[in-house]
Symmetry: C2
Subunit: 340 residues, 2 copies
DNA sequence: GTGAAAGCGCTAACAT
DNA sequence: ATGTTAGCGCTTTCAC
């Protein structure tokens, strides 16, 4: 492996050149107060002349901090990567970290080997904290990080009682308002296509659907619920099944915008007009919908807020390690795009 | 900032517990040879009992290596992020780095501030090398890294005489073979839509187009060349212009698949049938084409090979720092999908 | 305000 | 085969 350029000037050499002690140079480099202006200037000149660059490994070792945080992307094969949702959230986090904060490091964790390597990296103290995205219910990573006492913030949660800090959208609330909107616009035969039943986010959205119907005095029989998997194809298949069971359907809540996309395909293939015959509302996890179904009413997630909040929580936990877990649930917004 | 868990056991404590010297523990931890099996076992037990985790900052400092490489993503607003091309290449690099290699760290560099921060990070010795993607011609980052003597490998090049190692696709060759295919299938009125003229990749593709026509004894007047910008909209506009100038067009080389996409839209809007009336070939930087225009003939770039080769070059340069720049040009492949 | 000195936890070279 | 030692380059008291 590559040795770092050996002749690189050290703090000591800078000190010698400037005719001061190492402590003083350190103070100047770190913008610490309590250095006479003339001294500071002299040191800065020495730094410039020598082309001095602080060795961060040494700084980490002495200072007990990494000045970096990791954003972990799980998923064996991140197609997500290719999804605007992902891009948005990463940029939001990057923005939130702009300015003075630590360096943001994105890391792929797609296999056990990669998980091990990352854990070694993180527990080795090379990051001060970890942000996790779209973690599966059975992913052990969050708990392993927590056990290593590394500040950790999840995006979304794996279950109802998550033992790690997280930021999540109000999925149940979003579903409720979507269904309420369908009801308000006169729909009565409302079905839903869910996400994978083992994902908490999917459970919440389904619950919201049921609650909304229940509070309108309508009951939900199982045959109005079809299982999808957050893909276009899954949405297509589920919609097809629903149409067979209930040709009278006039409203659909899709658990993601990809699902909505698939549902639309199936509806059109069956000759239904949208939204005249059937209104479809999807969660726009993936603002993809903006392109493919721009006129669809959607439940929007505040991606920017989610990213900003995650960073905020993480920095807090880094600053003052505590035994508490912080949870933030952000409101979703119903974006009405057609008059159904 | 968060102090690393203070009570964390050190190598020394492990040594004490196992009743051996620190050197021995270090050897065991690093899987070095020359440790009696029984000793190794004892050390491993002590490690397990204490829950010892090596401090990587200390290792970096002593060992002069970071065991990490960065993959830098420039672009002020990475929409690219959302593009399959990007996803593919990242995964390819991740795969190539799997196994024993260093940790892969993706970093965003979207602004001057972020560039400075990353430079500090990289020059501070926290990575052993840097991979760069889609760098603009005027981006100073590669040169700054080179100046800092950090092993660096570019994907694509900024100009004909790049002073940094890079891996690139044979863009001119790809364009030549595409045009040759159009000619071979009887097309004669062949236009091209270029990318941004200040991008070297676009220049190469244009050159290939010209060379192919020239070697067929046809000459290329400027009016057959329209400037695009690698976007769908740009492709659309350029195609519209071309149709006005040369209604007799029967073949188009598009400098990207998004460009091809836009060209297709414009052709259809003008009532042309593809490929009956006009054949379109695009470079599929972004395998998007697989979805939107699955039946189009394309020039395919070997993304996996590019990723693998980049990693290979980088590891080589890390291993044996040299003054040479290594350049690899990978063959493209013409994927014929329709009988024009 | 500034210098000196004591680590931070590890690797690697050198003894043994 | 294993223990010992000398740094790696910085931050941070603690004197002055």
């Amino acid at each position: 492996m590559g040795r770092r350029h050996p002749g690189a000037p050290t703090l000591e050499e800078v000190a010698a050149r400037a005719g001061v002690g190492r402590g003083t140079v350190s103070r100047v480099v770190n913008n610490a107060a309590g250095v006479k202006e003339s001294t500071r200037r002299a040191v800065q000149r020495a730094i410039a002349e020598l082309g001095y660059v602080p060795n961060l490994a040494a700084r980490s070792l002495a200072g007990q901090r990494a000045d970096a945080v990791a954003l972990v992307m799980t998923e064996p094969r991140w197609r997500q990567f290719a999804e605007p949702f992902f891009s948005e959230i990463v940029h939001a986090i990057g923005d939130a970290l702009a300015g003075t904060g630590p360096q943001l490091l994105l890391t792929l964790v797609r296999s056990d080997a990669e998980r091990r390597r990352f854990l070694e990296y993180a527990r080795g103290g090379r990051v001060d904290g970890v942000l996790l995205m779209s973690v599966h219910a059975d992913d052990p990573l969050p708990d392993m990080l927590a056990e290593a006492r590394l500040p950790t913030v999840l995006m979304g949660r794996r279950s109802g009682d998550e033992r790690v800090s997280y930021v999540d959208a109000d999925n149940a609330g979003g579903a409720r308002s979507a269904v309420a909107h369908l009801l308000a616009t006169g729909r009565r035969a409302i079905a839903t296509i869910t996400g994978p039943p083992d994902m908490y986010v999917a459970q919440c959205r389904l619950r919201g659907y049921r609650e909304a119907l229940a509070s309108a005095g309508l009951d939900t029989r199982p045959s109005w619920v079809a299982e999808g998997d957050f893909t276009i194809e899954g949405g297509h298949r589920a919609m097809t099944r629903l149409l067979e069971r209930h040709p009278e359907i006039d409203g659909v809540l899709a658990a993601s915008d990809t699902t909505a996309e698939g549902a639309l395909e199936a509806l059109r293939a069956a000759g239904r007009r949208v939204p005249e015959d059937v209104a479809v509302i999807g969660f726009d996890d993936f603002p993809l919908a903006e392109r493919t179904a721009p006129r669809l009413t959607t439940v929007r997630q505040p991606l920017e807020d989610i990213g900003r909040t995650m960073v905020q929580l993480l920095l807090q936990e880094i600053e003052e390690p505590s035994v508490a877990w912080r949870h933030v649930i952000l409101r979703t917004e119903l974006v009405v795009r057609e008059s159904a």
